[in-house]
C-alpha cells in the first residue's frame, strides 16, 4: 500500500489509499494521520477509489483513526468505496460509524456544506 496526502484550499486533509489496506501496512496510515493531527490538521478525508481490498485490521485501523480524530476535536470522512468495499462496511455495520461519500471531491466539499 502507498498513499498520497494533500491539503486542499479549504483546509481538508485528503489521503488517497493506493493498493490494499491490511494488517501489514495499517500502521503506516495510522502514523500518517497522527502526524497530521500533530500538525494541527483536523478535517480528514480518506479515499479508497484506488483500493483493492481491506481486511479486518484495516477496518480496525480506520476505527482507531476515527476515534483519535474525534478525541482531538476533528472529523474524518471516507470516500471512493466501490460496491465490494462498501459491502464490508455494511456487513460490519461500520457504515453507521463513518460518513461516507461517493467521491473524494464530494467528501471534501461536504465539510463546507
Amino acid at each position: 500500500m502507498g498513499f498520497t496526502a494533500s491539503k486542499d484550499a479549504s483546509g481538508v486533509y485528503l489521503i488517497r489509499v493506493e493498493g490494499q489496506l491490511i494488517v501489514g501496512n495499517r500502521q503506516e496510515l495510522k502514523t500518517a494521520v497522527q502526524q497530521a493531527l500533530d500538525h494541527d490538521e483536523r478535517r480528514f478525508v480518506i479515499d479508497f477509489s484506488r483500493t483493492g481490498y481491506i481486511d479486518s485490521s484495516g477496518l480496525g485501523a480506520l476505527v482507531s483513526i476515527s476515534k483519535r480524530v474525534r478525541e482531538q476535536g476533528g472529523e474524518l470522512r471516507l470516500s471512493g468505496l466501490n460496491e465490494d468495499l462498501r459491502s464490508l462496511f455494511e456487513l460490519t455495520k461500520l457504515d453507521t460509524l463513518f460518513a461516507i461519500s461517493d467521491t473524494a471531491e464530494r467528501a471534501v466539499g461536504s465539510f463546507a456544506a
Binding site: I22, V23, G24, G52, S56, L94
Partner: protein, 158 residues
C-alpha cells in the same frame, strides 16, 4: 557479518484430472513465513493459480481475497505470534464448482466460539474482532480442526 536471509515463500502447484464431470483440479500448496508482509503476495499467488480466467465472478473473487487475507493474518499474528521460526501452511484445491482453502498455523489454537464480532452499536468503536466474522460472511462454509489452529474455507461458484 552477513544479514540474515529472509524466509521465503515455498510454492507447489499440481494440476490433475479427476474422474467424473468435474474436470480439472488444481491443487496449490504454500509454506508461508510468519511475516504479515507476505500476505498480499500469497493472496495474489492463490488467486492467480486457482482462479484463472473467469472462473469466479468479480464479487466472489473479492470475497475470496479478503477471506484468505483474514485467515493468513489470524494465522501469522494470533496463531504464530509473528514468530519467524514458525510457518503457515496453505492448501488450496479447486474441484468442480468449489474452491477449498485450508490455512494452518503452528500456534496452540483457539476456540472459534469464543470470538464475538463488535457489530452492536455500543461496540463499533472496538478496533478488533471482525476477522472471523468477515470470513464467515464471505465464504459458504467455514470449519476448524479440533485444536483450533487450522481453518478450512469453502467457496462455491454460482
Amino acid at each position: 557479518m552477513t544479514a540474515p536471509v529472509p524466509a521465503s515463500l515455498q510454492l507447489c502447484v499440481r494440476r490433475r484430472r479427476l474422474p467424473g464431470p468435474s474436470g480439472a483440479t488444481v491443487q496449490v500448496s504454500l509454506r508461508v513465513p510468519s511475516d504479515v508482509a507476505c500476505i498480499e503476495e500469497v493472496v495474489d499467488l492463490l488467486m492467480r493459480h486457482c482462479c484463472t480466467g473467469g472462473w469466479l465472478c468479480r464479487k466472489l473473487r473479492f470475497n475470496l481475497r479478503v477471506a484468505i487475507a483474514e485467515a493468513l493474518a489470524n494465522a501469522i499474528v494470533a496463531g504464530n505470534q509473528e514468530d519467524r521460526s514458525k510457518w503457515v501452511q496453505v492448501q488450496a484445491e479447486v474441484c468442480g464448482d468449489r474452491i477449498r482453502v485450508e490455512v494452518t498455523d503452528q500456534g496452540p489454537g483457539f476456540d472459534p466460539a469464543s470470538i464475538s464480532a463488535p457489530v452492536l452499536p455500543e461496540d463499533l468503536d472496538r478496533p478488533n474482532g471482525r476477522g472471523l466474522f468477515l470470513i464467515r460472511h464471505l465464504v459458504d462454509d467455514v470449519s476448524f480442526n479440533a485444536q483450533g489452529n487450522s481453518i478450512c474455507m469453502t467457496l462455491r461458484r454460482r
